[in-house]
Subunit: 207 residues, 2 copies
């Protein structure tokens, strides 16, 4: 059971992943973790095959929030190398067994693992509200600045996908379920969504 | 509880609507019904406010299948008039209470009724398989011909939407849930989907 989540910034895709991970009891790896491993360790077979979500969390505790971390410019030689490392790391996590992976084109990288691919999105108003509620207190952005930031983050994701895959970011044909999270409480959504996912894997095994 | 379903041809959107209607026990109106009423009766207030799904079904029994019925060319004066009648008919159904409406840009027409908008889609292979399984026996189309037909039908829908609304057909921002039906048994999907829909309406009422 490999689940990938792609998402618009501020749509709650990461929270969705974390909560699904708790509900389905399978590990959860997000963009930041994968990026950190790639930058610090590269694809060190020894390290990757022994690292687990549990010990990653020990050095890198997960906070659910909206953080405007920008990936390194994807066209420099070094960042292409990092992207390649990241792909290997993602594939290695999938080889280790059931898991949830957020971002980094995992749906494309893991195509042969028959993943369930989710796209989470929301209307701009909902994304701004979410970011305001969850931003660190040190961040004092106006609504207009937040909107610009959100659009910039999604532009980065769109560019990243275009650079490393042949498929269009956010196009529904890449996904098995596209969820508009506007006004929804993700916590309440997760049990019914877990049911949907279990059913999906059951039907895909039959056919 | 107003639910609208937009769908790619052959994705099973109409079957989904019919089964959701049975499960949620609310009436279900599809494109053909709305078109038939508009053409035969126009917007006859007297007729529309008394007609129910039950008596429509008596004269127009529902068959779940893939039929390549083409809407009249949407740019003639007569067809624009019919489209306007259809919009009034759709709004009238919504006024009568909970219902499911398939196609005809009902998500846009009923915007003020706070509908739950679904988009059903599937990969081409799945759509072709579905059409072959469900086509009337009199229809002998090759796979290539079916593919062309499916693409033509979706092109018509895209054009219809572009003509009567400002929004793009199939763009996920118009919908609350986009469901890839490839390889899925719609009958089995409906209970969990009904749960999702009930939850959605509950959360939207709170916020």
């Amino acid at each position: 059971m490999i689940i990938t989540i792609s998402r618009e910034f501020g749509s709650g895709g990461r929270e969705l992943g974390k909560r699904l991970s708790d509900n389905l009891e399978i590990p959860f790896y997000d963009k930041e973790i994968i990026q950190m491993i790639a930058e610090k360790h590269g694809f060190d077979e020894q390290y990757i095959s022994h690292v687990s979500e549990r010990n990653i969390r020990a050095v890198y505790p997960l906070t659910i929030g909206c953080r405007f971390t920008t990936a390194p410019n994807p066209v420099t030689k070094q960042s292409v190398e990092i992207a390649v490392e990241q792909q290997k790391i993602i594939e290695n996590f999938a080889k280790q067994g059931d898991c949830i992976i957020i971002g980094r084109c995992a749906d494309v990288i893991l195509k042969n693992y028959n993943p369930f691919n989710i796209f989470a999105y929301a209307d701009m108003e909902a994304k701004i509200r979410r970011c305001m509620e969850r931003a660190p207190q040190t961040e004092n952005l106006t609504v207009a600045e937040l909107k610009t930031k959100i659009m910039e983050m999604d532009k980065e994701r769109r560019k990243y996908r275009a650079l490393y895959t042949n498929s269009k970011w956010s196009a529904n044909e890449n996904f098995h379920l596209c969820i508009n999270t506007s006004k929804l409480k993700i916590k309440r959504l997760v049990p019914v969504l877990s049911e949907y996912i279990n059913l999906w894997f059951e039907m895909w095994k039959i056919t």
